[in-house]
């Protein structure tokens, strides 16, 4: 074996430091609470409802992104037009805006001082301090991740497959459902995972729009503020475990089967 240059050892040691940086705090947090504490935490009704609310609102945000984002992602993948870059940048804006600012921005149109806020108020929709508000915020921050993943998925499918389908007699919509969708559903699932992951971790925007009902990150923050580190850890561990389980299951479904390409 040839002797490795010092540069090689620099790259390896940087890697080790980063691995430790990521894993050490997480491992410490996961192993800190005792089993009995974990057990009593999960029997706490407030904890269950907040974790459930977190997962439920994140999945709702992903569902809304799926419904509205899929056609847009398809449009962006298949069409070239003047200003396309601008549209794509606008879609990615929520990724770069600081989280509390997102909350403030949403409240400023949903408030009664704004014509839009007035309309939805008349319709009986409440954003401030409601599940609707949480879902709105999570969709806002999660949607770009869904659209980007699915757009990449559509772009990887040759338009020629769609052309052939059309020439064989299938309409545009039949082609989408018989060719494009079956070839792109995995990227949609990946998009849903990305969107959910982003949504579940949202805190800054949610506290501004809806401190109550309490999603898990808000509850973790509250317990930390009120009772200290020890009492916030078990909730955090449960949230991480349940989310990981959910993502692993989705990811397994998204993996290509043997013999499929």
């Amino acid at each position: 074996m040839t002797r490795k240059e010092p540069f090689f050892w620099i790259t390896v040691s940087c890697g080790v430091v980063i691995m430790a940086f990521i894993l050490l705090p997480l491992l410490q947090m996961i192993t800190a609470p005792s089993l009995s504490m974990m057990n009593s935490t999960i029997q706490d009704k407030d904890v269950i409802s907040s974790i459930w609310l977190s997962i439920y609102t994140a999945l709702s945000a992903a569902g809304i992104s799926f419904l509205f984002g899929t056609p847009l992602a398809y449009f962006l993948a298949r069409t070239d037009f003047r200003g396309k870059r601008l549209v794509e940048s606008i879609i990615d804006l929520p990724i770069v805006i600081p989280h509390p600012v997102v909350g403030i921005a949403i409240l400023s149109v949903a408030g009664k001082n704004h014509w839009f806020g007035q309309i939805i108020y008349e319709l009986g929709i409440r954003v401030m301090g409601s599940v609707t508000g949480i879902i709105t915020v999570l969709t806002f921050v999660g949607m770009p991740f869904y659209i980007d993943a699915v757009k990449d998925g559509f772009e990887s499918i040759s338009p020629r497959l769609e052309n052939v389908s059309r020439s064989l007699g299938a309409s545009m919509s039949a082609t989408f459902f018989r060719i494009t969708f079956p070839l792109a559903w995995r990227s949609m699932l990946v998009g849903i995972i990305m969107c959910c992951a982003r949504a579940v971790s949202e805190f800054g925007a949610v506290v501004i729009v809806a401190y109550h009902p309490m999603i898990a990150p808000v509850m973790i923050y509250e317990r930390f503020e009120a009772y200290g580190l020890k009492y916030s850890q078990p909730v955090a561990v449960w949230l991480v475990c349940l989310c990981l389980l959910l993502f692993v299951v989705l990811r397994l479904i998204a993996l290509p089967r043997k013999g499929e390409k």
């Binding site: 052939v164 389908s165 059309r166 020439s167 007699g169 299938a170 039949a174």
Partner: protein, 345 residues
Amino acid sequence: MIRTEGLNIHLGDFHLRDITLSIAENQFFVLMGPTGAGKTVLLEALAGLVPTRSGRILINGRDVTRFPPEKRGVSIVYQDYALFPHLSVGKNIFYGVHYHRIDKDIARRRFSELVEQLNIGHIVKRRPGTLSGGELQRVALARALMVNPDVILLDEPLSALDPVFREEIRIMLKTLHSTSRTTFFMVTHDFAEALSLADRAAIMNQGEIEQAGSMQDIFSRPESTFVADFVGMKNIFSARFRDREAQVGKHQFETTLRPSDENGYIAIRPEDIVLSTTRLDSSIRNVFHGTVRRIIDQGFSYEVHVRADDMTFKSMITKSSLFQLGIREGADIFLSIKASAIHVF
């Protein structure tokens, strides 16, 4: 039958201009041209996949210019086959049946006929990902023909194949064409392919049709320097014509025809220039003396460049003739060209 009338297409910076073509029913028509000439764009326009700016497209007498692709009765076969990767070969072939209201029994009979004709019976249950290029192309052809289209559009169907499969698919295309009533419209950049398959052809360059007509006409009577070069006339010179004589620089050529204009071109195929070490004792009047400048090995033959005063000729010679005549760079040589081998335009 396909007719295009004054078709104009704008795609970004690329334009197809005034494309007027007429292709009879059940003809094997080949559209040729170099890469980037716009052949595939025209093919996709016929299929309704590219918007046209002006002009008309008629298929079997129907004006389909504003029709969506699924209403045109046109099947398309791409160079990269474009088989649906998530469907088995059988399902790929059956894909269009659903939309053409073909009776189930007729569809099944048609399927087994095509499968047998194209020799793909053993792979109907397999997915496209596991097939060879030749098999993929045969499946793509079966899928396109299954719906009994008025026109089948073939986009360079042979160029992505290995030489072994290429020959096989070429013969298959010829057989399929002779046994079906479908009009074949093929795009290729390979002149030899066209020569072996086409009844009629057109040559396209930079978005315009340079020449259209019978294959024989295009091969032996090109109307422009571009077409002459494309069909392999490598010696093209601008000339002044007087009676049956063409003046090129200091040289005079005897020709059998002359163009209507006084100024024009002469074009000669390399294989029609006979090389000899002594002046040939024959009736050929066009004999020139020159020096061998370059010898280019082309595998089965050699291309010999000969400089005669102010002209350079490119001649083709077999390996054995090259050795027999002892031709080497710098040697003196005679060139003989029959008057009938000189194409004028």
